[in-house]
Subunit: 211 residues, 6 copies
C-alpha cells in the first residue's frame, strides 16, 4: 500500500514466509522484521544507493529496527508460530516524517497480511493485539508542531517521534534536542500534541483497512 | 516519471550534477550513467535487498550497464561538457520486460532533464541526437510475440531485447536461446516485430514529452 | 579513561585531528564523532567480531550515532574550527547500560581533550557549553528502577535511556515498551528517576575531571 | 587448456563437484556455472584486482553469466544429475575478443570434463547435445571484420558477439552500436561473417579434443 | 586475563563452543582458533577501526594466524573432540611486542579454559602437551636486545619473533631484516637471547596459573 | 615472466606507475608493493575465487606482504623517487613452494622493470642494491629436504622459508613446527641447506636476466 502524508510517499508491503530465523526455531513463535530504504531520488538532491556503496547506512538500519520493534509491540507471536512477516517500507518521495509515515503504513500492510494468513488458516487466534501508528512532532520557532515537513524539520530545536497504540498508550518515544536542550514542560507539550495526532491516524488506518 | 507497460511499473528519474567522473575530466565532454534496481516486492515472491546482502547482483549490474550504454548512443556529450546525468530506474512492480520499459522511460526522463538544463543555460547546442526506445520480443509456443509478460517470458524459447532509435536504426540487439538454439529466420522475424513495436513507443514518448 | 558502573566497564578515549570531514570544510566549525564497539567477550557468551563479519551491526551504528549526537549538544564548534574530536567507546565488559555508561565516560574524555587542546592553543573561547551524562531507567516487575543490570534489563517491561545536561535539561529521551505499552504516568515516573540519577553522575564527572 | 587467438590467451579449466546449488536440489538435474576473470597485467596498463577492491565489476559478472548461459545451451542436465561443472576462464593476456575466446575454449574444457566423468560413470546418457563456439565481429572503417584485436575494437562502430552451435544455429547474439546506430543490412553482414567464422572454430575444437 | 609487558597491555580471553568448523566434523578432533585486534587508540595516534572499514587488514590476519598456529602446537585435539576454543587477544595499549605478548597471555587463557572444561568433563586425557610463550628480539644500534619497545622497534635493523615451548624447543621463528640483511651469527645471537627470555616467561605463566 | 619449479608455475609481472601512495609523498622516495594470488584451479581441487567471496584470505595477504617486504630489502628507493613498482605474482599451477617461487621470479621481473625504467631515464643511480631469492626447506621423515613438493609439504614436521640476498645474507627466516617442535640443531641444518639452494637460484636468475 502507498502511504502519503504531505509530500512524503512511502510504499509499504508485507511478505509472509513459512520459516523463522534460526535463533527463533523451536520457540513455538512467529517473527516479524522490517526493512526501510529510500530511493536515490526521493529527496531533492540525489543520494547514492546503499546497494552500490555495498553497505547499509546507520540511519537506514536505525529506522528499520525502529519499525520492526514498533510493530512487534502489537503482535502475539504465538498466533502464527513458524511464520515470518517481512515489512518493506520504501520511500518514493521524502518531505519529512518518513519513519513515522512508514510505521503508520506498515501497520496497515501488516493487518492486510494477517487477514490473508487467516484466510489460509496460517494463524491460531488473533495475531494483532492492537493497532500501531506514529507521528513526528517538534518545536519550530518556539512553537510545538505536528508532522514537520522537511523545511521545518531542518530548523526545529527539538524533534520527537512518538509511536502509539490505537488506544493511546506509548510504544516508543524518541526525543532529540537538535540545538538547545529541552525541558520537561516542552516534552509534555510535544507528547500531548503527538497523542492527539495518533487519534486521527488510528481513524485513517481503520478506514484504509475497511476498503 | 512512472512508466507502465502491462503489469510492469518503473520509476525513472534523471539527476544532473555539475561534475564528471575523474577519468572524464579535461575531456571537454559530459557523461551519462544509469542505475537499475528492483524493490524487494516488485515480484510475486520477495527478493532480498542487494543493499542488505552488501553487493550488487550480476543481473542488476548488467541491466544498469545496458541502460547507460543505450542512452549514451543518443547523446552528444560535447553539448553538456562538465555535467553528469544519472538516470535511476527503480522497478516498483515487475511483470516481464523491466529492462526495456526502463530504457524507454529513461529516455523521457533524460529529455526532460535536457530541457531543464537548457533553461539553465547548462547546454551548448542540442545534447540529444535522436530518441531511444526498447522492446522485448520472444518466441512462445513457436510464435513470435511482442512485449512478453512474466508468464510468457518463463516459457519462451528465445528471448530478445532490441534497442532502437526513433528513426528505426539499431542500437543494441540481445537475443538469447533459452531452450533450443534459433535460426536466422527466427531472428529476422523477431527483429521485424521489434522494429514495428518501436514505432509505437516512439510515438508515446513524444506524447509524454509534449505534456 | 575507564568507566565502571556495576559490572559494566567501558574504555573511553578522545583523539584530536586537525582536519574536518569534507562536507564540513570552509564552515569555520569543528566536528565531533563517536564510535562504539564491544569486545567479543564483553558478554557472557562470545559475539562474533564485526571486523571479521565485514560489516557493522545496526545496534553498533545506532549507539555510535547516539553518543556523537549527545556530545555534540554540549559543544560550541566555533571554538575549535578545523579540528575533529573522535570519541572511542570500547566495552570491555557488559552488564547492562553500556550506551549510557559510554556517554557519561565520553564526556569526561572530551573534557580532558578540550583541556589538552586549550594548552596547545587549538581553541578559541570555551568549546564546552555544558556537561552531558546519561542513565538507563526501566520498569521491572511494576517498579521503576535506575541503572538496570543485564538480568533486570532482559525482564524489564519498559526500558528508557535519558541523556541530560549537567543543569538538568534533556538532550535525548528514548523510551521503548519491551512487552506492554506504557502510559504517560509511567513515563513521568521514569523521567523523574532519571533526572535524579543524572545529578549524581554530574558530580562524579566533576570529581573525575578534578583529578 | 590454454586458448590462443592472436594476442589473446585464456586459460580454461573445468572442475566437477558432486553437489548442486541449493535451489537445484531434488530436481534430478545437474548444473553448470562459469567464472571469468582477467589477471591484472593481462592488458598493457595494469588493472586493480577485483579481490583487492572487494567486489566484482559489472563487466566481469556480465561475461561470467554469458559464458555460463552459452554452455548450458549445449548441455542435457539430466545426464549428470547431482553434479556441478564449474568452468574457470582466466585471461592471461588480452588483445580483443576475450569473451568469445573464453567461450570457445570453455567448450573444449567442458567436453574433456564430460569424458572424465563418463570414465568414472558419473553420467547417464550423453550430457552434450552439441558443441558451442563464439566469435566477435565488428564494423571498422565501414568494413565488416572477424576477430577484432584490441586496437580495432576501440575504433569499431559496431561490435557484435555471436555464440553458435557446431551446426550453425544461434545461441546468443549481442550487437552494440559503439558510435553510430546500425542498420538491418549491417547486422546481416556481420552475422554472415560470424557464422562462417564459427565453422572454422568448430573444426579447431574437434582437433583439440582429438588430441 | 590482562597481560602487561612494559607499555603493552593485551586482554586475552578463551571461549569454548561445543561445535567444530564444518571441515573438521567427523574427525574425532577439536579445534582452536585465535583472533587478534587492536583498539583504535592502543597506539599514540588513532588507527581506523577495521569494522568500520569493512575489512581486516593483512597485519591483523597475519598475527591472528600466528597466534592460532602457535597454540595449536601445544594442544592434543583428540582430548576435546567436538569442541572449539576461540582465543581473543585485544590490544588495549601497544608499545612494541604485541604479538608475542598476545601469544604468552593466550596460553594462560587457554590453560584456564582447559581447567574449566576438565571440571565440566568436556575433556578426555590432557589436552595440553606443553606450554607456549613468545618473545621479540632485535638488533638495535648493533646490539641484540630482548623485548623491544615501540621506539626501539622502529629503529631496529633486524626484528625477530620466537615462539618456544616451556622446555625450550622452537615452534616458530620469524626473523626479518628491516634495513640491512643479517648474518647467521646475528641470527644465532638473537635466538640465544630469545630462548633465555622464554625461560623467564614460562616461570611467570606458571605463577599466573597457580593463582 | 613465467617461473617454473617442479610442478609449480607462477606468472610474475612488474608494473611501473609514476605516483606513490599518499603516505609516501614528499619523501623523495619511490615505493614497491606486491600482490600474490592463486588461480582457482592451480591446485588439484578447486578453490573459490577471493574476488567472488569479496575478501582477501589471510594466507593471500600474508604472502603478498612477504613478497613486498623481501624485495624492498634490495631496493634503494632514492633511485626512483616518485614511482611505484607493483609486482603481480599469479600462481597458475601449485605444487608446493609457491611463495618462494614467487619471490625468486619477482626479483627477475623487478630487475627487468628497472632496466626498462633506466632506459626511460626514470632512475637516478642504481635502484638495486643486490639480488633476492627464496627457497623452502623442511624436515620430512626426519630428513632435511630442499624444495618440498605439495605431498612432502603436507607430511613435513617443520617447514621453513628462507629469503636470501645473492651474496648469502638473510632477509627473512620463517620456520614453523607443523607437528613436533624443533631444536636449534634442526634449525641450523635447514638453514645450511637453504643457503646452498640460494646459491643455485642466484645463478639461474642471472642467466634469466642475461637473456
Amino acid at each position: 500500500m502507498l502511504v502519503e502524508f504531505g509530500g512524503t510517499r512511502v510504499l509499504c508491503a508485507a511478505s509472509v514466509q513459512d520459516t523463522v530465523p534460526r535463533w527463533r526455531r523451536d520457540s513455538g513463535l512467529g517473527w516479524l522484521t522490517a526493512e526501510y530504504a529510500m530511493l536515490p531520488r526521493a529527496t531533492n538532491t540525489r543520494n547514492d544507493r546503499e546497494s552500490v556503496r555495498g553497505k547499509l547506512g546507520g540511519r537506514t538500519q536505525e529506522i528499520s529496527r525502529l519499525i520492526g520493534r514498533s510493530l512487534r509491540a502489537c503482535v502475539d507471536f504465538k498466533a502464527f508460530a513458524g511464520s515470518t512477516v517481512t515489512i518493506d517500507c520504501d520511500v518514493l518521495q521524502a518531505d519529512g516524517g518518513t519513519r513515522t509515515a512508514a510505521i503508520t503504513g506498515a501497520y496497515v500492510a501488516l493487518a492486510d497480511a494477517v487477514t490473508w494468513m487467516r484466510d489460509r488458516r496460517m494463524t491460531k487466534g488473533d495475531p494483532l493485539i492492537g493497532s500501531v501508528c506514529a507521528v513526528s512532532v517538534g518545536v519550530v520557532a518556539g512553537e510545538s508542531r505536528l508532522d514537520l515537513c522537511y523545511e521545518e524539520d531542518v530548523v526545529a530545536d527539538t524533534d520527537m517521534n512518538v509511536v502509539c497504540t490505537g488506544d493511546g498508550r506509548l510504544i516508543e518515544v524518541q526525543g532529540t534536542a537538535e540545538g538547545v536542550p529541552f525541558s520537561r514542560e516542552q516534552l509534555n507539550e510535544l507528547l500531548d500534541l503527538a497523542q492527539l495526532g495518533c487519534v486521527d491516524l488510528t481513524m485513517m488506518q481503520k478506514e484504509a483497512l475497511a476498503r
